[in-house]
């Protein structure tokens, strides 16, 4: 069921890509070509895009869970996983296989339909956001003029899935987790949106791909990165976006919906087996998505220092370099997320509110106004 929902979303987006071509802003490559063959072309493009995305979206969490456990282990002077494969690298794969073979338990008093659909919605939101992120000029499955706007909408879809799961579980802890997620979401979404708005104001476009392209050039090829181009306002805004991103991915110190020391396991207490693994997958995959959004908006996209922007687009090798550059930056940010998780303790829900409303929102708003002034004056 969850898979089907993912397909539906992706099929819609593939058709969106086809439409985008006509407008002259579309993505490149095979998908664009396929979209020219009408409905069946869209379908094949959708299936192909889904296969690629699902592969990436499943492979990255495997790497990230390994990194998370390994880094946290070393930070606590443990070894971390080191038994399965070299350096325990395929530990997450082993865990995934284990989860697949586990029994899928649905509580007797649970709302069966919602309980079963919830992980699918969460995963669908994350996977469709995956379709929109640009890894390089052409390595983007769907490049719509909507861009970040659509991404924020899809990432918010995940919150609905979480609330669904918490409600359908018919478990007090799950419901607490879900309510916390709802409360947290209305707190962090405002600074999150304001920071996106800041980038949109700076570039005059919603497309992440175009934002990345716009950041090429300048001093040492970093001068046009938003945080260096407009350091006074964009740097704090980038930090606020990062903090809001932590809250968005439900990671410490904002892991209140899960809060394993308070709420057993929060909204996914009652989940087991493959359905649980969907929530797990979503958390780590969305870490990557959020990181890529942040990089595309503030940290120069796929541009590297000392490498002229023209060398990152055009040929296959340049595109590959761009993808690798983007992945490297994303991995660094993911590492920082892991690093923060194992440094800071969880904060209370009222502290989350206080942080988001009293600190992040005003600062983000000041940054937005300042950026408007900056862009008008320069």
């Amino acid at each position: 069921m969850s898979i089907a929902s993912v397909w539906t979303v992706l099929a819609v987006q593939a058709s969106g890509a086809g439409a985008g071509e006509g407008a002259g802003t579309g993505a490149t490559g095979i998908l664009k070509g396929l979209a020219a063959y009408g409905f069946w072309g869209y379908l094949v493009a959708a299936l192909l895009g889904f296969a690629i995305l699902f592969g990436i979206a499943s492979a990255l969490p495997i790497l990230f869970t390994w990194a998370e456990r390994r880094v946290s282990g070393r930070m606590q002077q443990r070894w971390g996983p080191n038994r399965v494969g070299p350096f325990g690298l395929i530990q997450a794969l082993a865990d995934g296989i284990k989860l697949m073979f586990k029994e899928d338990i649905i509580p007797a008093k649970a709302d069966k339909l919602l309980f079963m659909v919830a992980p699918g919605i969460v995963l669908a939101g994350m996977l469709s956001a995956f379709a929109l992120i640009p890894l390089s000029d052409s390595a983007v499955v769907v490049d719509t003029p909507l861009g970040v706007y659509l991404i924020t909408a899809l990432l918010s879809l995940e919150v609905i899935g979480v609330i669904m799961a918490g409600w359908a579980s018919n478990n007090k802890w799950s419901l607490f987790g879900a309510m916390r997620e709802a409360a947290q979401m209305v707190s962090y979404e405002i600074p999150f949106g304001l920071c996106i708005l800041l980038a949109v104001v700076s570039y005059g476009t919603l497309s992440l791909r175009e934002m990345s392209l716009a950041q090429a050039g300048g001093f040492l090829n970093v001068g046009n990165w938003l945080i260096f181009h407009n350091p006074l306002f964009a740097l704090p805004a980038a930090l606020i976006f990062f903090i809001a991103a932590l809250a968005n991915t439900k990671r410490a110190p904002f892991d209140l919906p899960e809060a394993e020391s308070e709420l057993v396991s929060g909204f996914h207490t009652e989940y087991s087996g493959l359905r649980f693994s969907f929530f797990f997958l979503e958390e780590y995959a969305s870490m990557f998505v959020i990181s890529v959004i942040l990089i595309a908006m503030y940290l120069g996209g796929w541009n590297l220092p000392f490498v002229p922007g023209s060398a990152m687009t055009g040929s296959f090798g340049a595109e590959l370099l761009a993808v690798l550059s983007m992945l490297f930056k994303a991995f660094v940010l993911v590492f920082v997320m892991i690093w923060i998780r194992w440094t800071l303790p969880r904060i209370r829900i009222d502290q989350v509110m206080s942080l988001c409303y009293k600190y992040l929102t005003p600062i983000a708003f000041v940054c937005l106004i300042g950026t408007c002034w900056w862009e008008l004056s320069t």
Partner: protein
């Protein structure tokens, strides 16, 4: 520091950023430190030098004195061996039951050779309880070296025995020679004495008196003999088979002597009566009576008081014999002496236990 208004707001931001940076700095530093985890089965976990873990035995040094076995408060040490000539021990078992062992190390201190130690092995995870009975021997039975040593010891023994025999022979020969010489000398002396004694013959005593006196002394000796044989025997605890043998045999023998003595007495008594030495006969009788009476006490101990002396003596002896044959006392004697026979029984029991569970043919 108390702040208010905008300063509090800015201060909070500063605190939050600063404390987060400090915290991240700490975690980052720890990221590059070596993990403190011991990868247990692969890594050797260091333990204190005085750690009391699984024992190890220096079997070369061990002399099988069983001091550790005796010292163990929970009896978890089991030693089985056979001692061969030349103090060579043929090992069957030196096992420690770690189900019982409490690692008190009391087995290690009494060891005269300092050959049992508590090691550093602490892994006592087993699938079966029986696997916790660990044999500490590094070899069993006899090694080639041991065979060699036994052979040497036996040869040595033989050699010594031969030496001794030779010595004995020599000594005997010497003795014989000496004896011969002494005899010759004695003969000489006797001859000389005879020559000198004859002229010095003392005044003649009445032959009757002389005989009575000698007879009396004879009797006294007999009575004493009976006493020594009959008296201590029943009071002696029946320590083992041999002792019980003695007990069973003693009353009859004592009786015999007691019986004998009056019989023996008879003729000299007549003679003494003739010589009107009633005074002398009375103590004899008094001496003879206790001699006969003591065995009676012994028979009473055997369980049938108040029966005729002779019969009692016989049945008592018979019963004892039966007891001995069957190994368990059947007609359990009552009264005071019960303890004695019980002792014998209990001893026998322990003996039986020893046989059932051969702790080693040590001696």
């Amino acid at each position: 520091m108390k702040r208010d208004g905008a300063m509090a707001w800015l201060g909070n931001i500063k605190d939050a950023v600063w404390s987060t940076m400090v915290g991240m700095g700490i975690t980052f530093r720890h990221l590059f430190k070596k993990p403190v985890t011991y990868q247990y089965p692969e890594d050797v976990v260091p333990v204190a030098t005085r750690y009391r873990g699984m024992h190890f035995l220096e079997q070369d040094k061990c002399i099988a004195c069983r001091a550790c076995e005796k010292a163990c408060p929970v009896d978890c040490i089991e030693i089985r061996f056979l001692r061969h000539p030349g103090s060579v021990n043929e090992w069957f078992e030196f096992s420690l039951d770690y189900n019982k062992c409490m690692f008190c190390e009391l087995c290690c201190s009494p060891c005269p050779e300092d050959c049992i130690h508590e090691g550093k092995e602490f892994g006592f995870v087993r699938y079966e309880r029986s696997e916790l009975v660990v044999d500490l021997t590094t070899w069993k039975g006899l090694r080639d070296v041991d065979h060699q040593r036994i052979k040497e010891a036996e040869e040595e023994k033989k050699r010594k025995a031969a030496e001794m025999a030779a010595k004995k022979k020599a000594a005997a020969a010497k003795k014989a020679a000496e004896a011969k010489a002494a005899e010759a000398k004695a003969a000489e002396v006797k001859a000389a004495e005879n020559k000198t004694a004859e002229p010095k013959a003392p005044e003649a005593q009445s032959t009757k008196d002389k005989t009575s006196e000698t007879k009396a002394s004879e009797l006294k000796a007999a009575e004493e003999k009976a006493e020594t044989k009959a008296m201590p025997a029943p009071s002696k605890p029946v320590s083992d088979q041999a002792a019980s043998d003695q007990v069973s045999a003693d009353p009859s023998s004592a009786e015999k002597t007691a019986d004998k003595s009056p019989a023996e007495k008879a003729s000299p008594d007549k003679a003494s009566k003739d010589s009107s030495s009633a005074d002398k006969a009375a103590p004899d009788k008094a001496a003879a009576e206790p001699a006969a009476g003591k065995p009676e006490a012994g028979e009473k101990a055997a369980g049938k008081p108040g029966v005729d002396e002779k019969v009692v003596g016989k049945t008592g002896a018979g019963e004892m014999a039966r007891e001995k044959d069957e190994g368990t006392p059947q007609g359990k004697p009552k009264g005071k002496p019960q303890g004695k026979s019980k002792k014998g029984a209990s001893k026998k029991k322990t003996g039986g236990k020893g046989k059932k569970k051969p702790k080693g043919g040590g001696k």
